[in-house]
Symmetry: C4
Amino acid sequence: MKFKNEKELGFGNKRYQNTVRFLNRDGSVNISRRGLGFENLDLYNWFISSRHSVFYSILLVGYLAVNFIFGSLYYCIGADQFGGIDTSTEFQKFISLFFFSAQTITTLGYGHIYPVGNAASVAAAFESLLGLLAFAIVTGILFGRFSRPRAHLEYSKNLLIAPYGEIKGLMFRISNKKQYELIEAEASVMLSMNDPQSGKRIFLQLPLEISKINFLTLSWTIVHPIDDKSPLYGLSIQDLEKLDMELMILIQAVNDGIAQTVYSRFSYKAHDIVEGAKFRPMKTEPDARGRLQLNVTEVHHFDYVEK
Amino acid sequence: MKFKNEKELGFGNKRYQNTVRFLNRDGSVNISRRGLGFENLDLYNWFISSRHSVFYSILLVGYLAVNFIFGSLYYCIGADQFGGIDTSTEFQKFISLFFFSAQTITTLGYGHIYPVGNAASVAAAFESLLGLLAFAIVTGILFGRFSRPRAHLEYSKNLLIAPYGEIKGLMFRISNKKQYELIEAEASVMLSMNDPQSGKRIFLQLPLEISKINFLTLSWTIVHPIDDKSPLYGLSIQDLEKLDMELMILIQAVNDGIAQTVYSRFSYKAHDIVEGAKFRPMKTEPDARGRLQLNVTEVHHFDYVEK
Amino acid sequence: MKFKNEKELGFGNKRYQNTVRFLNRDGSVNISRRGLGFENLDLYNWFISSRHSVFYSILLVGYLAVNFIFGSLYYCIGADQFGGIDTSTEFQKFISLFFFSAQTITTLGYGHIYPVGNAASVAAAFESLLGLLAFAIVTGILFGRFSRPRAHLEYSKNLLIAPYGEIKGLMFRISNKKQYELIEAEASVMLSMNDPQSGKRIFLQLPLEISKINFLTLSWTIVHPIDDKSPLYGLSIQDLEKLDMELMILIQAVNDGIAQTVYSRFSYKAHDIVEGAKFRPMKTEPDARGRLQLNVTEVHHFDYVEK
Amino acid sequence: MKFKNEKELGFGNKRYQNTVRFLNRDGSVNISRRGLGFENLDLYNWFISSRHSVFYSILLVGYLAVNFIFGSLYYCIGADQFGGIDTSTEFQKFISLFFFSAQTITTLGYGHIYPVGNAASVAAAFESLLGLLAFAIVTGILFGRFSRPRAHLEYSKNLLIAPYGEIKGLMFRISNKKQYELIEAEASVMLSMNDPQSGKRIFLQLPLEISKINFLTLSWTIVHPIDDKSPLYGLSIQDLEKLDMELMILIQAVNDGIAQTVYSRFSYKAHDIVEGAKFRPMKTEPDARGRLQLNVTEVHHFDYVEK
């Protein structure tokens, strides 16, 4: 086996276990960096990339928790330091102060409950500042979530090995899921597998038929020709499974809605390969108003070819 | 016909109908991507690129709708759970609660109407949080709308075919509509037309006389020389109409007010071509204070030339 | 005269008057684009680049004007539709409603004045929404103002012509005014002057000794060698004044505080040239704590050299 | 000594003192730019890069100071111009007005204290506008702090000189501290030292074994081969200390969480060099869920090698 394209790809020490996956299927890197405590945390990146359900649940729980804390603080200061409190029971006093906290932190301030004593006024003045700061932070994070430059690509479920001119080609297909346009798209494909001779893991950049296109309007089939210089030459799917092959994809393009460069990653394993199949062309029929219709789910469709 | 410049331009399958237009005249891509339901939606991109009238109407209707919903909720909770309500009629009760909702969601909180019961207080605390979040989202979207990097170019209405040295040239002209400056402008011109022999649609990048300039201060006439290597060589306007020719333009430049790369697209069809005409130079007279005056509408002006 | 470096620089038609200046000394382009009415306006760019004094004055005047308008509207609706109004005089009624407007648009809402009638409540609900939107817009513009990527360079007041090896060189010097760092700085220098033979204005890119440096930490002297290929070869300062010479500078660098590419422009005329002088090296003495002190105003200093 | 790679690196005049350090160890440039008064200040850059503790302390102190100023102003206007004031003592009057200021600047507006006289109303209307503007500014700065593109790299504490093939190599190692990914990483290494012959300080770019990698997932050992063309060839650590050697590192990469280019700088001095040692490979064991664990502190570990 010759691995002429092998180069430093940033994976450092290469004595990995056989069955490790470097990229998860969704493109996230399968690595947890530790050892520096708080310095390893990156809260902003976590908040802007967390799922909506998680993010809004945290917001709601945080809102309740802060009001509980300030409600308790006001209760300790004493309900008699406030005007307009419902003092029928101790519990109702706390509830009133909890709602007073909510009205303070949101800077709502109806004023039917209001601080009278100085300690109460100090705590309320501090809470309203805290509310403004928290709100400023949430505004920034929400903007970060919305405006985060991302490529929303649909990758074909399978890697196909199909006749490609005289030889065979390894190919997958991508399509843009969203309505904005991707221009100046560039693909980079890395192969990682175990080398049975050295016992090391090798990382190779695979040459592509075409690695850059101007418009990614409909779909793009990315092809690595399996010629006799290819590290995949002469290997069967079973061989690749044994060698724990992983194909790591990096796509870079300009999202011209926001005029920013966006990135997308994906990873295939040997069990995703289908041999002797070709992608079925995606239909692009114009609708009644002359607008081309593209069904993005067709990016996965392929047909077996006669060998 | 030779199409030596043909290359992968991201338009995928090339068996299109004759009369399809890929780019609309305003540069938007004439494609609707479907099949993934909510995943095809891109609300942020839609909100930052929708027209002002649509965007602010949605805001206003949304504000009314949310207040109607919370007003109704408060009415269900019971007007007696609130202090300061005008209880003269049932309708007036609802109206009061509608306004209470407006005062809560904006965190205005006059306090002449205020929640007394716990259910009312919970709903109001939730509404004020919702208001803050909605406001944070609107702030982000408004900033996204303002700061969206765009090139505001005026394209000449017509494509001209005019004498160009010994041969002819296909040319159009662009000018910047706004007061900021565009620097390092680059043009890329793609030709799409039907190939009568293969029945397929071809996509070609046209070579340009000059494809990059340092300053786009006044105007730029972009010229494709129709030499004997050009795919347009020997074709008449009638031929081009029959072949359903489309010329797709992509301009890239740096807007130096915001120091960001911006993009602009445009599309011409065969019926936009005028043969035997040359662009009239745009006048640039200094005004009383020595400032050059440029009338951007002159970008469209041309004069017929003697053949 | 040979002008071998002449190329399309985006200045379009070249029949200008003799005495026009293309770039103002502060680098702004001396062009006013018209003819499209509102389409020529670019409010966001104007707001983020206007001076602080102008911007904050507009904000204050706008705040007063909006409160005057809404105060008048409330007065038309009738002061009796509001609770808590000082009704001693008609003028005092208007003043109270003016302050009510201010308390509404800022979502302050003390509540000692409050809307009673439905018309008053509708107007107040609308004003508070307007206030939130206006505030969102102001937040976005303020962020745009702060975060606008700019290079803050100090250019030497004079262009020097000094011995440069065997020949002479045209040189100017720049230095960074701020505490952030500029890296990967690139310079581009364009010469514009009248050509006495053709009566046209010519635009040439001047070759530089060094056009890119890695760090712009202290100062950078940018040199155009006046060899026999230079368009300036053999011309005196008087010749250049007659030809209405203008030297247009474009500097590009990465501000590594915000990791963005920033741009700076400047322009010199013939009367800025000093012949037979060399820039005096800028002193960089360490202070008591070992920190190098750089006085940016020294960028202008030069010494006459013996010829 | 030959210094063939010497080139203009933007450090201007080269007659420095022997013992000056250009980059601090944290990568900040050891230069203070002065002479232009306010023009040398860059408040936004300072605010977004200051430490959390400093930034939030300034916010809190500013909040107290503004309330003290407005409280004093209201006190001068007269406590009788306000409703709801605790007038038991003069001090208590001031305290009430201080809290009224806090309720106004945050647009909280409970309304149990409220302005009655016109002067009081004017001051309160102005304070609430000021509060909104200040809040808008703080929102922008907080977003600037969060979203500032930075590379969070851990650099090995030491520079190693180790056998490298037939010759020796100068090497250091970096690793990403955070969970986001860095792609397309590029390194640039500059050497600065005194030249005993000329008495000047020289600045050289050192050639690297590999200067660009695709993924910086685990670690990257950056190597300068000390061949006979290297300016370090034949110099001992003692020589380098005498020559006041400084190695300045600039790393550039794309943070693909935010799809932006980020920069990191670092600096080594001669006393950081360890001779005859090699970096110990960093362990990357998968945890129970198959996720690779990387301890970033291992980036510093090295082992002495037999010579």
